[in-house]
């Protein structure tokens, strides 16, 4: 999976965001992140209705080797969580940009363009990491 989907924004913490038509934002972790983590065996999700701060803890993804915090890239309230991840956390490994979505939230402000990067910029970040 080397192609970054063109409709997503990315963060330094290897999360992706997708702006939905209704103004909500779907969030997950990138292919780079899931590869680094390895097989995921447990995902701890926030509650629907929970308010998240930008940079605050959003979810915890656990692989066999380690637990990793996923931070909310933007502030907002949780509209939906991907319940499928309870039984099938490996969806994040198999389809990080699709079935492996983690939460959808209603952002407090708009999705602040300055805090996130476009696919090309994220790719450049990855290229630098792998160099």
């Amino acid at each position: 999976m080397s192609e970054l989907p063109g409709d997503l924004r990315f963060t330094n913490e290897h999360e992706w965001l997708r702006q939905e038509a209704d103004g909500s934002v779907t969030i997950g972790i990138t292919d780079h992140a899931q590869t680094a983590l390895g097989d995921l065996v447990y995902v701890e999700l926030p509650e629907v209705g929970q308010d998240l701060e930008a940079g605050g803890e959003m979810a915890v993804v656990e692989s066999v080797k380690a637990a990793s915090d996923v931070y909310a890239p933007v502030a907002g309230s949780v509209l939906a969580v991907n319940d499928n991840l309870a039984d099938d956390p490996e969806k994040i490994n198999a389809d990080p940009y699709g079935d492996g979505w983690i939460i959808r939230l209603q952002p407090e402000g708009g999705m602040d363009e300055g805090e996130t990067m476009d696919p090309d910029t994220y790719q450049a970040l990855l290229d630098e990491l792998e160099a």
Binding site: D39, V41, Y42, E44, V60, E62, V64, K65, A86, E90
Partner: protein, 363 residues
């Protein structure tokens, strides 16, 4: 830039994620350690274990030497090819290493010890062997592949020297046979049936490829760890080390107290410890809810005291988190573990959790 086994380029070729293990560049997995784990329990998997240390011992007094330096008793190995699992102790009764020793023939034995303890163990053995005039030879020119799973022996038979095939298939558990420079042994670290095969380094690549061509899944250290944890097998350096005795590491069963007149290094210290009340115990834990237990997490036993997880992880076969732990003495069936700030309930129970493809505890 660590040490590389003869199979290193095969791993890279197969897309393995390479990690450092005790100074060696080893495959963690080839894509999915969970899939590799399942392959071993259901079919067959191959592990490059060439980083482990093979030490051959020879000399008239080798039996006497091993009866002194090992906590289990090699006098039990009466047939050629018979092997046993044992700890090697220091004078305080702490574990220097755990290993398998093979009785090959009169006055000749082979030890397979851990990778990370290579230098320490060879130095220890050489020093202790001196008064017995035993030759201690590290066989670093040999490679080793473990093939494990219900179909493992059948598939691996095609890969070993043809002249020993039938005899190899007839090997009982914990027996090995030599064929030239090869050693085929019915031993393993997964809780499944299978072989551990020692061979000249030059033969390793073709043997490995032949196994893969026969449908055996290449498996890395990630799967090796989840398999051994499910099987309730200790990992040196994590579950026990030089500061812990076998008695507090779930390895009391590997100590041969009889005959009483057999002196071995650590015997005195162990005897004293054995007599003490309130010794820590070593058990398994099963997390009752969702989550993952991790090494070093604190275990709290209500009304008794604290303990610690030594090896924590996830069981792909049971889809539950499990652990091995050193806990305070007492009779209790449950405890709580501090996991990321929360106290989660665990069941305290005896391992193994999974053997021969099946869960052996009540879930």
């Amino acid at each position: 830039m660590g040490l590389k086994t003869p199979l290193y380029s095969k791993h890279v070729e197969a897309g393995a994620r390479i990690v450092d293990f005790g100074g060696w560049d080893m495959p963690l997995h080839y894509g999915s350690q969970v899939e590799e784990h399942h392959a071993v329990r259901k079919h067959a998997g191959a592990f490059d274990v060439s980083h482990m240390t093979v030490v051959d011992l020879q000399g008239e007094k080798t039996t006497d030497f091993l009866r002194y330096v090992l906590a289990n008793d090699v006098a039990k190995l009466k047939d050629a090819g018979k092997a046993l699992y044992t700890c090697m102790l220091n004078a305080d009764g702490g574990v220097v290493d755990d290993l398998i020793v093979y009785f090959l023939e009169s006055a000749r034995y082979r030890l397979v010890v851990n990778a990370a303890t290579r230098e320490k163990d060879v130095a220890w053995l050489t020093e202790q062997a001196e008064p017995f005039s035993v030759d201690v030879t590290e066989r670093s020119e040999l490679a080793m592949i473990a093939v494990q799973g219900p179909s493992a022996r059948e598939l691996a038979a095609a890969v070993i020297p043809s002249e020993c095939r039938d005899t190899a298939l007839g090997l009982r558990p914990f027996y090995g046979l030599e064929a030239g420079e090869w050693l085929v042994a019915r031993t393993g670290y997964t809780g499944e049936d299978g072989w551990e095969i020692v061979m000249p380094a030059d033969d390793a690549e073709s043997a490995w490829q032949a196994l893969l061509d026969a449908g055996v899944a290449p498996c890395g250290l990630g799967a090796r760890d989840t398999l051994r944890l499910e099987a309730g097998m200790n990992l040196y350096g994590t579950d026990m080390d030089g500061t812990t005795s076998p008695l507090e590491s779930g390895l009391g069963w590997t100590i041969a107290w009889e005959p009483e007149n057999r002196d071995f290094i650590g015997r005195d210290a162990l005897s004293q410890e054995r007599g003490k009340k309130g010794r820590q115990k070593f058990t398994g834990l099963l997390l009752e809810d969702r989550g993952v237990l991790r090494n070093h997490q604190r275990v709290v036993v209500d009304g008794i005291g604290d303990g610690e997880i030594t090896s924590g992880g996830f069981s792909p076969t049971m889809q539950r988190s499990i652990a091995l732990a050193r806990l305070p003495a007492g009779n209790y069936a449950g405890a709580v573990v501090e996991v990321r700030g929360k106290l989660l309930a665990v069941r305290v129970l005896q391992p193994p959790f999974v053997r021969n493809g099946k869960t052996c505890i009540d879930l």
